[in-house]
Amino acid sequence: MTPRALVLAGYGLNCDHETAFAFEKSGGQAQRVHINSLINKEVSLADFQILAFVGGFSWADDHGAGVIQAVRLKYNLGREILDFVEAGNLVIGICNGFQALVNLGLLPGLEKDYTKRTVALTYNDSGNFRNAWVTVAANEKSPCVFTKGLSVLDMPIRHGEGKFFAEQDVLDRLVENNQIALTYAMQDGSPAQGRFPQNPNGSHNDIAGICDPTGRIFGLMPHPEAFIHPTNHPRWTFHREVQKRNGLEAPPQPAIAVIKNAVDFARQAF
């Protein structure tokens, strides 16, 4: 069966087209669905195996990134989303979507409580929006379905509020459970250790993405759907020359692999 991905749209979200494309390119079937179409029951979540919260500025992010989107969904679709999660389906939140997931409480989902806010994505230490490519390292011990088999990836970050923050006890739990699936890294994959610009926002523990304890809900600040073609990479013209000259070094793996992992998992699971 071809896994079906529901890609949220509307209200200032703006990565819906390329996220849907990424799912299609990864062998899934994707549908962009306006948040209101889901609320009005024109479209049913139950018909999908993957739910994607995408990047953008939902409700202009005026009162904290992803906050109003989370309120809207919680008050209108709270039960449906929890049912969707409990049925073992996959949820990914990218950038604004990640911010919405932590405000909904779907992440980090400690003690399987998917309604409690215990972590936050707050203003970058630089105080400004930043678009830059970063290197991230996947935690091979993490149960995260989306990062399975991946090691080091390049992706762009594009946010003003991406600094991962939680109190120490929560951070400890995340480490313990291997819920920290993705961290900002140096080019060789070693930890960024808070260094700017490798850690672009001052995130605690270099956190770029976390999953819930089951590994089926995943949120990340960098944009895998922005690396869906070799020419998306900022150094692709260099990599092309390297390939031409010695034909040895393979160019970096497109980060769409994160999406493909989800599609492959869903295909096997359902």
Binding site: Y11, G12, H17, D62, N128, T231, N232, T237, F238
Partner: protein
Amino acid sequence: MPFVLEISLKPHLFDAHGASVARKARDYFGIPADSARVVTVLTLDMDLSPDQLESIRTEIFTNPVTQVSSYKPLDIPFDWAIWVGFRPGVRDNPGATALEAIEDILAQKLPPKSRVYTSRRYCIEGKISREQANTIATQLLANELIQQVKIFSQKDWDSSTGIGIIAPKVLLDRKPVVTSIPMDSDESLLAVSQKRNLALNPNDIPTIRKYFQQKQVVTARRRVGLSQPTDVELEYISQARSDHCNHNTFNGKFFYREQGKPGVFEINSLFKTYIEKPTLEIKAKKPWVVSVLWDNAGVARFDENNCYTITGETHNSPSNMEAYGGAITGIVGVYRDPMGTGLGSKLIAGTWGFCVGPRDYDGPLTPKLHPRRLLDGIIEGVRDGGNKSGIPTPTGCLFFHPGYLGKCLVFVTALGIMPSKVGGKPSWEKATQKGQLVVMCGGRVGKDGIHGVTASSEVFSANTPAGHVQIGDPYTQKKMMDFLLEARDEGLIAFITDNGGGGLSSSVGESARFSGGVEIALDKVPLKYEGLDQWEIWISESQERMTLAIEQKNRARFMDLSAKHAVESTVIGSYTDSGKLHITWKGETCAFVDLSLLAEDFPQWEFEALWASPEQRGLSEPVLSFPEGSYTRLLCDMLNMPNLCSREWINRQYDHEVQGTSVIKPFVGVFADVPSDAGVLRPVLSSEKGIAIAQALLPGYSAIDTYAMTACVMDEAVRRVIAVGADPEQIGGVDNFCWPTIASDPKKNPDGPYKAAQLVRSCMALADICRAYGIPLLSGKDSMYVDGHLPGEYGERHKVSALPTLLFTTSAIVPDVKNCTTADFKMPGDLIYVLGITRNELGASQLYELLGHLGKNVPVVNPTENIALYRTLHKAINQGLCASVRGVYQGGLGVALAMSALAGDLGLFVDLAKVPREGNLHDLALLFSESAGRFVVSVSHENRHDFEAALAAFDVARIGTVSDTGDFAIRGLDRRNLVETNVDTLRAAWKQRFGGLI
């Protein structure tokens, strides 16, 4: 009874925004601010129960992990608390989304008068005087045009009442009135025009009076209850006849003379002669040019199934008054142009161009906003406007010059894409028809943008709307665009155009010309607040609105879709074929004018243009001896010039990857810090085809000759897209002219005829280069009156005029993005070539600027020579022969070589003796002459033979090699090493000026 909610980060969390306020206070004004923390204040002007208040506070406005909040003033230590809030009527975007969220969690629609006002309280610590606190408040935090300020010391502060309750509600408290305007004589009408700031041109007045005196007009008007013209009608005429809407300057008659030469050259419309004519000639030869010169944007073929649309705008005067608001309104506004082109296109890119005074200006003049503050605000405005629209910003440019102290320039360009066919018909064709409904979509109407200039000098009362300075709302517009694209694809749109300058007056008036008439019920137009006069509703420039024509049968579906997207759409009338613009208010007619009135024979504007050559103006080359020692420090100082140094901090704030289409980003190289020649996008994700986009402006050259300036600007913009791999046969252009006032006036503008001649010469070059390079002008705009009157040291006022400025944008097809090239040197040992001839052309160069000269030898473009080279280079790029390509622009060869080296993080060895040149050139000219038509290319040894063979017919020379260390060495004509340094030193010099900005 309003409630005031204060929210802040928990005390132990770092407040990045506050830290940046404190840093700017120290850096900009030397005020010893130790720290600052920001409190967000929400004033909830509505009735709420205690339970509701608590759930609003905890569920929406307080993040339990990071924030604290209270309906009482938060206890945060400060030496000074500065409160900043909007004036009444200023667009409060966060206030609007807060209201949406509150309705959501209360699960009820609030009464229409409910409002949320957002404001901020800054808690600042440090040994700061009241005067210094006032400086922070008025010169860093607030612009008193749109914001109000309260400053509290610890002593002034009452911890129980805090800032108090401030609800900047608009209360107009008046009934709308239509006024009849008597027009007994030309003089009396002119007097009314001046009094009401109608800005009617005195020459137009007889034509207007004649129309209203015609017998059949009088009879027809009497039938609908009108006699003398109403204010609605005269405002409509005034808008339509304004230079902004009607381009009277570019359509004017010019009498061009050259000093010392006999004869007058008469030009009947610059637009028709130098823009329309060449473009139509080129369109006839190039089938990819689809639709130009009439719609909101030009349309060109992208591929078999898609067209791309492009246009450019400026938003200068508003940005000059309120930088953030002006710039965000500008970029969000230009995005409506492709949306309103044909049956509507999806936005795929936006670009920026800023011209401002020196960032460190400390001279005697006092501009409205200091250039540093102005630039900060403009940058942020374009950031929020672009990023929140979900449209990538692939490129931009910045130019500093004291001429922009009088008025800054903010250029914004937009690209869209649309299917070639919608419902089986060409997407670029549209027309209104009798019986179709007039729909207004998007935002509501307030006093925004009405007669902006006079409004800004009005005295403010506590409830006067200050909406003439607008703040764009990308969120509302993004929702509207999502909706309209869906409506387009369902075939629901018959006609679409945007509401920009002139508001409904312009959009309805122009769309009604297709059907031949329209009836509008003005009382149906949704308002932000009551009390607007009819004429105000009609010409208001409130943002984020589109005007559409839809068929009656599609009304229900259209409205359903609109509701799904949470977009307000209102039927405000219908199209007719009566020949009339007929406007009613609650059934009573308030305007009844023949649409043909605007086609009447209004007198053409006329301009005297007198050119004096550089020699006649006494310009000459400076007498310079050459530096005796090393040139290394000179090169470093060149790289540190304000117009050459790194400005990474700007585009770094702009999302250039959204939509997943990015191929060549604004930055290239190992550290992604060197600006690319052009941006490249792949707008159709399933295709390998791309669009390159580049911009150039060289206002400095205007000080010598605007013909040369224009030719060089266009050549640069063309070379930029060639350098990344675009097809020279498929380049389109967009011209954006920004010029000082050209009308002659012995007192107010004594050099008007010279400035007019500068404009004529610029247009001549525009046409010449378009023809030579085969570039159709897909779109363009002009913005005149780039002058300001600034107070000086002694209370005198100086007129400051900008340099004549042309921003030229090129868009071009990249057949296969996989063949694109970038500027960075790729491999040590690669061979470095210079393509094109270097001439003794240092006039108005960056080198002369550094040395304090203007000179005379401004670069001259040889278009026929160049285009042959560009075509051949394009072939070489497509064959994969070039490892790197970069154009040589401002700063000359020295800077171009440095850029490729910095990008590749590789050094070089170059011998200037080998550079192809004309005449007896010295080292300085070889290194820094800004001759057009040149590139720096690096090539692998393997490709050397093929590359040299391919370019054998041209002035091309191998001048050196890429080194395997960071060493950067340039040998001069006398065989000594002029420059001996390394890339790290050069990078440090290049980043010294703005490297610390974020």
